[in-house]
Symmetry: C2
Subunit: 415 residues, 2 copies
């Protein structure tokens, strides 16, 4: 949407009408740029911001795309003195009170507009695509499927997979080979694997005396992975190499942002408790001979300052026996938590991946689980997993978006 | 302190006086445990929390140290029916309304007390040691020095280094060999390297046409690394292999939590702006042939719900030209930011590491910089760096604390 409106804006500037630019200084501190006789609105920029973002070689280092302005001597009282518009070159020239001169391209100015709608478009498309939350019944509509080979070879397929993952929190790849290197190749197609206490790739299969609850053939109730990390791994990649032929071994998935939406609407006091009460999450054990004792304290529903979800924490096995809250908060919190657990369980969608399927989902948002199963001598369920971080995924999405333009999301029709 | 009070508590239970335990049910929902004829206060536990944390093999999986209680059928209306105290075994037995029976060791109960002071001790010692903020003039007092060989071979030296790093945000190791494997060996002594867009180890040396501003011999103003990551690397490890013989190449360090303390006290409106205004941080470039476009939006001073600092973001080169805030907020924000930058610069401590020194500091908290320098044909400044995450460091600290007890912090005497 941002790239699209940028292209639209760019196409406009080729018409002679728009070329008649004018600019003026407002209140000594702002610069207003107006394409005269055009329907396009005037753009207003703070002078200090323009000075701070001067693009000349003394102020901006081109090969590292970084500001090199000397902030140790930056004067915040700097003011624009005179303006000059070069209509043919589509440039604005500014002479500043610190004797510096700057030139700004109109394209650059348009793409940095302080207009609220432009900023919104930039943030909800280029920065991070806006998420769409879904009830379990909508799973088949929202869970897009992609061919593994196409994702590995075509940038547009790579972009569509990552975009779907960002928006819906889940996407599936089909037709992957059955070797153990699949998750690494896929992660490196995006960036690199996020390592954890359990290494880079991890194998999910039943192991006697396992140090982690996931490495048992027992049913694995809905949970998020590694809630005991402040820097929780973002996205799970689970490659099904061998699926159990027994009943069970099915995946369970639920969009916990949808459950949180419902709590916020239907049970606001439960929502308040679950988003304000810090819970101790932990993992104690050893891996490759090295002991660990991970703990992170955070609510079940984590919100940012704007009230948007940043992360869901939930795990029955990894919730610490330590619960460092005032005594009186404990009983009500359990009531609210039990409601969350029940609503999530009732909304969970169940399906069974087949060998060659790669299930990818947002570990900050979705709860996942597994029904119990039975291995036999000739059939041992075998899943290879790894994590990818959103920092790395969004970076890849932005690079692809600049090259290919935006992906347009079709919302599911059923509510 | 927590481990100490635990040891004290343990030593108390060996006296016969304390063995005469009593327990009672309060308001049907709480259990109060009292060592009779003892000065130790009664401990009160919520019934539902006790039931949730039953330690029997059906409810708790010992080898993974995880709760295995079936929360899909957990009844939050569960109540304690009868209690029995075994004074000799120091155990509390509870019969529950769901027909389950649980046994709790007194040691376990004491270490899980809901008493505010106990919780505080646990959180400020075992969970995460409480930080102490410092003015630049105190650098020599707070910056502890350790021998590299001792840290590599002795667990108590390892613990003291990591504890100092947690509390003061900086610590130095001396006498490291001059090979390029030092930072990896040190990181693996703790856990493992945190990988970024720039790889695992990185080399800081002057490179013509560098894609990153740090890879120039120019002065590097105070900054934090990778503010453009949501999951920002926690701790910098900078191993000085070759130091410049020219003037310059000095490190600059400042405790930005101290600067934030001062702003909060002296300039509350600047503090409010810097802690509430989201700033776009970015990094655009390519590494090993792979393009990236990293962006993260966050204030300069990041706070948690309790108003405690979680992270500082500051970098002149990596602050995006995009600034997605309402127009009217821009000018006041620049004024506040300029004050922060000036106060930080004036408080910065300057020192020059020597070959074999390893400087380690908290990248979420400290600003670091470097004065400009000149390489010659026979003398090229050469620093090897890597990052470690707090999740991993605190885990190592907890493992060491359980084995060795607590480290006691001596606060600097000068204020």
């Amino acid at each position: 949407m941002w790239a699209k409106s940028l292209r639209k804006a760019l196409s406009r500037v080729t018409t002679p009408m728009v070329r008649r630019l004018s600019a003026r200084i407002v209140d000594e501190s702002y610069i207003e740029v107006k394409p005269s006789q055009s329907v396009a609105p005037a753009l207003t920029f703070p002078g200090i911001w323009l000075r701070d973002n001067c693009r000349c070689p003394a102020c901006f280092h081109d090969s590292s795309q970084s500001r090199r302005l000397d902030w140790d001597h930056f004067d915040t009282s700097v003011r624009p003195l005179t303006l000059h518009v070069d209509a043919d070159k589509e440039q604005l020239q500014v002479r500043w009170s610190d004797n510096h001169e700057s030139i700004y391209e109109m394209d650059w100015l348009r793409s940095h507009s302080f207009d609220g709608d432009s900023q919104s478009s930039y943030l909800n498309d280029f920065y991070r695509p806006r998420t769409r939350h879904w009830a379990g019944a909508l799973f088949e509509e929202v869970a897009r499927r992609f061919e593994f080979d196409q994702v590995m070879s075509e940038d547009s397929a790579l972009q569509q997979w990552l975009h779907a993952l960002a928006v819906y929190g889940v996407a599936l790849l089909n037709g992957a080979p059955l070797d153990e290197g699949v998750v690494r190749r896929l992660a490196e197609r995006v960036g690199f694997i996020r390592r954890t206490t359990y290494g880079e790739e991890f194998i999910v299969q039943a192991k006697p005396g396992a140090q982690n609850y996931a490495y048992l053939s027992l049913p694995l109730p809905l949970h998020t992975d590694l809630p005991y990390y402040e820097y929780k791994p973002s996205v799970n990649i689970l490659h099904c190499v061998v699926q159990t032929k027994s009943r069970g071994g099915s995946n369970l998935l639920v969009d916990a942002y949808h459950i949180a939406d419902r709590l916020r609407e239907e049970y606001p006091s439960d929502f308040a408790r679950l988003s304000r009460t810090p819970v101790d999450w932990n993992d104690i054990g050893s891996e490759d001979g090295s002991e660990f004792h991970n703990i992170w304290r955070a609510p079940v529903i984590c919100l940012d300052d704007a009230g948007e979800y940043t992360r869901i924490n939930h795990s029955v096995p990894q919730r610490d026996s330590h619960f460092n809250v005032p005594l009186k908060q404990v009983l009500p919190w359990y009531e609210s938590y039990a409601r969350f657990v029940k609503m999530a369980r009732e909304d969970a969608h169940s399906f069974k991946t087949q060998p060659g399927d790669v299930l990818t989902f947002n570990n900050l948002r979705l709860l996942h689980g597994r029904t119990g199963y039975d291995d036999t001598e000739n059939n041992s369920r075998y899943i290879v997993g790894a994590y990818l971080d959103w920092d790395i995924i969004y970076s890849r999405l932005r690079v692809l978006k600049k090259r290919l333009g935006s992906v347009h999301t079709v919302p599911p029709t059923v509510k």
